[in-house]
Assembly symmetry: C2
Homo-oligomer: 291 residues x 2
């Protein structure tokens, strides 16, 4: 191919599953000329270079972000404020920033506090491609294919900037949609953060017991699938829960009410109520298929 790639240069902060897969997907699409990476671990960066994720490991942030088309910040959310503050003065006029954070209200707040007059160049994103695996060796060019990426554009973003960030994620194979940051955080409190918390809670409940080895020895495929997400990163999920605290507290409360209703139905031997709840759940679950 002699055609110019869609993106001449990208810079990635955090070359793990999310950042690494972004680079690999764009490479596979022939959509990127040069990939530069930054991160806190020299060993991880070197691993990413050897895996073909990076063309080279960045040394000077100011120099690299100055002429990049896209900067992807794919670190834990807790590190983003510092990164935004460091790169803001050096972002080129053409350079756009996006991120890979699972919560958006807190990322937007960090961007507002630290990107200054470059805020319009930041288009927040949440790629919905979580996995228990992490690190550059878990990254693949296919991670985003057919998966959703949610953009939560800011009022300050121009339509052109939103379109350019959307295009980058689409080049990775993703189905891109848009929500406000508040809508995003409410939706994911219900369909992601709450289930993770419930799954951790069940395993922790059983882990506390004297007969836990016996219990686990009889657990089967239902337990396996229900608790798969309880093997997720404790640090990441601690941060997600705290970042989306208000929406998640509401979800836990509502779920506790639901559970209380089932407890009462069972206590009263209300077979019709149990069957009706289970039937409604089954109908909805059977008709749903993840994207």
């Amino acid at each position: 191919m002699h055609a110019q790639p869609a993106l001449r240069k990208i810079v990635i902060f955090g070359v793990g599953l999310i950042g690494g897969s972004f680079a690999l997907a764009l490479r596979k699409a022939g959509a990127v000329g040069e990939v530069v990476g930054f991160g806190r671990s020299a060993a991880t960066l070197e691993q990413a270079r050897q895996l073909g994720i990076l063309d080279h490991i960045g040394r000077d942030e100011a120099h690299e972000v100055d002429n990049a088309d896209i900067v992807l910040v794919a670190t834990p959310v807790a590190q983003m404020a510092d990164i935004f503050a460091r790169i803001a003065p050096h972002l080129g006029a053409h350079t756009l920033v996006t991120d890979g954070g699972s919560t958006k209200g807190d990322v937007v707040a960090a961007a507002r506090a630290n990107l200054g007059n470059k805020l319009e160049q930041f288009v927040p994103a949440h790629p919905i491609a979580g996995a228990e695996k992490s690190g550059p060796d878990a990254a693949t060019a296919e991670l985003y294919v057919g998966k959703r990426v949610v953009l939560t554009p800011l009022p300050e973003n121009s339509p052109e900037n939103v379109a350019r960030v959307r295009k980058a994620w689409e080049l990775c194979g993703a189905n891109v949609s848009e929500l406000t940051a508040a809508q995003h955080d409410e939706v994911f409190a219900a369909v992601s953060h709450l289930p993770h918390l419930l799954s951790f809670a069940l395993v922790h409940d059983i882990a506390q017991r004297d007969n836990r080895d016996q219990l686990l020895s009889f657990a089967a495929s239902g337990f396996r699938d229900f608790t798969r997400i309880a093997a997720s990163s404790p640090e990441m999920w601690r941060d997600i829960c705290l970042a989306n605290r208000e929406a998640l507290l509401k979800e836990i409360m509502q779920y506790a009410d639901e559970l209380h209703g089932l407890y009462q139905a069972l206590e009263q031997r209300d077979a019709a109520k149990l069957e009706s709840v289970f039937s409604e759940a089954r109908a909805v679950r059977s008709n749903w298929h993840p994207q």
Copy 2:
């Protein structure tokens, strides 16, 4: 093969996933001579015959159970009391009865009330091979391979009778273990019945909402796995919950306490507590692998 099969004749009540797979597994092992089936649906029985599960469809229960080696009662638990009552007077001296029920206290009670002086010939069993699928077309010879079957022998059972029923399940490829019926029901309240109820509850909670379609459109693989068991049979799970009511009520109560603890930790922004609960859960879940 000219050798006599281990089981000359088996009779199956309920030729669905559990009963059909028992027959197919014994056939594949060359361990059964003749398979006769009974059930409430003539169409299902005919389907089972055409699928090679049955040699023939039974007409006269008294005649068939008189000279069988094993009678497997694999119907919904609610139908078992009637079947026990009907077959008890006709069971041959050599004939043993086992079952496929997911709860054991209620099955044992039904047997005590209806098998009369044949009680010693009944060795209760719970094959842990649930699936959302059901019916004879879901049955396979491999369903039990490497899966657990829990026997809950009665004080009335002779060691020889327990050993013969154990052998039949082992011939299906299962790993057979033993618990009392009460132990069984407590263990499965924790590792199976509670997770099913929690999964139904989450989907029902979301199903009630005005924006449920939007919520489901953003749900991903974590939600998919957590809620897979919410597509299970509402009637079967209604019956299991009611059959194991006391143990399950205790489990719901304990889980609600666990959830309340996480709610408080989140409300108080107690990052250390959240991380410690999630870490303990992850450690236990990561080190566990289903049989």
